[in-house]
């Protein structure tokens, strides 16, 4: 394994030991309760409600974890000075940043995997007969897009934490998450604007991460298919966007004095 791999594994281990994955218990309780409740009060739309509720919960739980762990990935290591004994070894700064990013992304993937099992279990519970439908496979695509959102958020949290305080990083990352969730609306506004406003709105619309394109919860809840083109585009977009944010984080971190 490379040094990046060792740092990633240690980041994952930290999240597990700090009981970050305990949120899964809360998630399981929430979803079980919701499934039972929905089964009792909904008529014919149980599956729609469970998929909507389940995937939204997966997304929100993950966003909170991505932001609150991501902002501390670098700053906590500097504050606690744990970084000193890492960077005094043959570890390059970019290896540290990339290792941390991969470790947190891995944590979120595992987290999403277990939550996805919960979603499918709840779906099975409210289905009559207790069987999956072929359209349920699209839920996996929605989950994949949610993971892509987490990856982008991790990279942004890491970027902000490489030059600002944890509180500022949390505010910036969360703000970008909210704005990015309305990125399509922002692009629509840019198209309708004129002059300087159009330029500014277009710039902002393409600068913020396009989380709205990654949100297909409504579609899959209604059993609608997702095009292969969108899957390929979103994957490439998330990889490129995260890579740029990580490059930015590395460039800033390379020049940083660890006082």
């Amino acid at each position: 394994m490379s040094r990046v791999g060792y740092i990633a594994v240690n980041t994952f281990r930290e999240a597990v030991r700090d009981r970050v994955l305990y949120n899964l218990v809360a998630f399981a309780l929430l979803l079980s309760g919701a499934a039972i409740l929905v089964g009792q009060i909904s008529i014919d739309i149980e599956r729609l409600v469970v998929v909507n509720l389940g995937l939204t919960a997966v997304s929100l739980f993950g966003v909170v974890i991505a932001i609150f762990i991501g902002i501390g990935l670098v700053s906590k290591e500097i504050d606690k000075k744990t970084l000193y004994t890492v960077l005094s070894r043959p570890v390059r700064r970019w290896e540290f940043v990339v290792g941390k990013f991969l470790g947190l992304s891995g944590t979120l993937f595992v987290n999403t995997f277990f939550m996805a099992i919960g979603v499918f279990a709840a779906l099975l519970y409210v289905s009559t007969p207790h069987r999956f439908q072929s359209s349920d496979a699209w839920i996996l695509v929605a989950l994949f897009f949610i993971v892509l959102q987490f990856v982008i958020l991790c990279s942004l949290a890491l970027l902000f934490s490489s030059f600002s305080t944890p509180v500022e990083s949390a505010v910036f990352t969360f703000a970008l998450f909210v704005i990015g969730s309305f990125a399509e609306d922002l692009r629509g506004f840019a198209r309708m604007s004129h002059g300087l406003t159009r330029w500014l709105a277009t710039g902002a619309a393409y600068l913020v991460p396009n989380f709205s394109a990654l949100n297909v919860i409504g579609q899959v809840a209604h059993g609608q298919p997702i095009s292969a083109h969108l899957i390929a585009y979103n994957t490439a977009y998330a990889v490129a966007y995260s890579a740029m944010a990580i490059c930015g984080a590395v460039l800033i971190f390379e020049r940083r004095n660890l006082k």
Partner: protein, 317 residues
């Protein structure tokens, strides 16, 4: 061969929010440490010792100058495989056990290459035993005392068998036994031919272990010298000790500083007045116990360098 070399290495920070002002942390530093030396980097708190160490470790980016370790530029990552570092008041991943931490650092340092997991585990166990943490190997670091953390810090610094070891205040937080053990460890490293560069403001430690010392104050190198030379310099004074309970008349006229300790008297006076003082003791029929030249202590050298207005007291106090 030169193990550590700094060439005009300097660091200035910009402080202030709106109007940045320069704050010099380290003035151009030129220093060489030979391979196999135990080198003490002395200075009061805030003198620039930790800044120098951070510059050498690549944790802080120099404003000017450069440094070489074992002939290679400090920016060369390969250098890092040859050095060990114990930061001041070290903090480690407290969710790991001591053994897990050393395994992780071993992986980052490339210790695992060509060694199977069992051998590596045995090596780490032996190292933990060497620093007195055998029984705490499987305890999470969050349950460690300050002294235990310092020992883990020492273990991680020598884990990968480095050629040059940098220790920032290694005795800090240790009880007398712990300090003795660290001194023994440093002696052991010296016997193995390692270069040890350590910062401290505890001068007795430096005097006991170091081959050479450098004194730094307010970011400026004030002096470098061999401990043996510095402490063997005669200060131009002598110390007289004799049986008695009062100062004989005439001693004060010789410029002597006298101290009573039970039934013995001690006086420090200029070497030129030695014969006159002995004559007074003979005349008063007082029994002389010893007459010795006063030597510089490292403390006096340090004080002289840190505060040039301080004249060497010749052990008179």
């Amino acid at each position: 061969m030169i193990a550590i070399e700094t060439i005009n290495l300097e660091k200035t920070y910009a402080v202030g929010f709106w109007r940045k002002r320069p704050r010099v942390a380290l003035r151009p530093l030129n220093l060489t440490v030979e391979e196999g030396e135990v080198f003490g980097f002395l200075g009061p708190n805030g003198a620039g010792k930790t800044t120098t160490l951070k510059l050498l470790m690549g944790l802080v980016i120099p404003t000017g100058g450069t440094a070489r370790i074992l002939g290679k530029d400090i920016a060369d990552p390969e250098v890092k495989a040859q050095i060990g570092f114990l930061p001041e008041q070290p903090y480690f991943y407290d969710y790991l056990t001591a053994k897990e931490l050393l395994e992780y650092y071993g992986q980052l340092s490339g210790v695992q290459a060509g060694v199977n997991a069992k051998d590596r585990s045995r090596k780490i166990d032996a190292l933990l035993e060497r620093v007195g943490l055998k029984d705490a190997a499987r305890l999470q670091l969050r349950k460690f005392s300050k002294g235990m953390l310092q020992r883990v810090g020492l273990a991680q610094a020598i884990l990968h068998d480095p050629k040059v070891v940098f220790l920032d205040e290694p005795m800090s937080g240790l009880d007398p036994t712990g300090r003795r053990e660290v001194r023994d460890l440093m002696e052991e490293l010296k016997q193995q031919g390692k270069t040890v560069f350590f910062s401290t403001h505890i001068l007795s430690d430096a005097e006991a272990i170091c081959d050479r010392v450098a004194v730094i104050h307010r970011g400026e190198l004030r002096g470098v010298g061999r401990v043996a030379d510095l402490t063997s310099s005669v200060a131009g004074k002598v110390e007289l000790i004799w049986h008695g309970s009062s100062v004989p008349s005439g001693f004060s006229a010789l410029g002597a500083e006298c101290h009573i300790s039970g039934a013995t008297m001690r006086a420090v006076l200029p070497e030129a007045q030695q014969e006159a003082a002995l004559e007074i003791l003979r005349r008063e029929r007082l029994r002389l116990i010893s007459l010795t030249p006063v030597l510089f202590s490292l403390e006096e050298y340090f004080l002289q360098k840190v505060n040039p207005a301080t004249q060497p007291a010749g052990g008179a106090q």
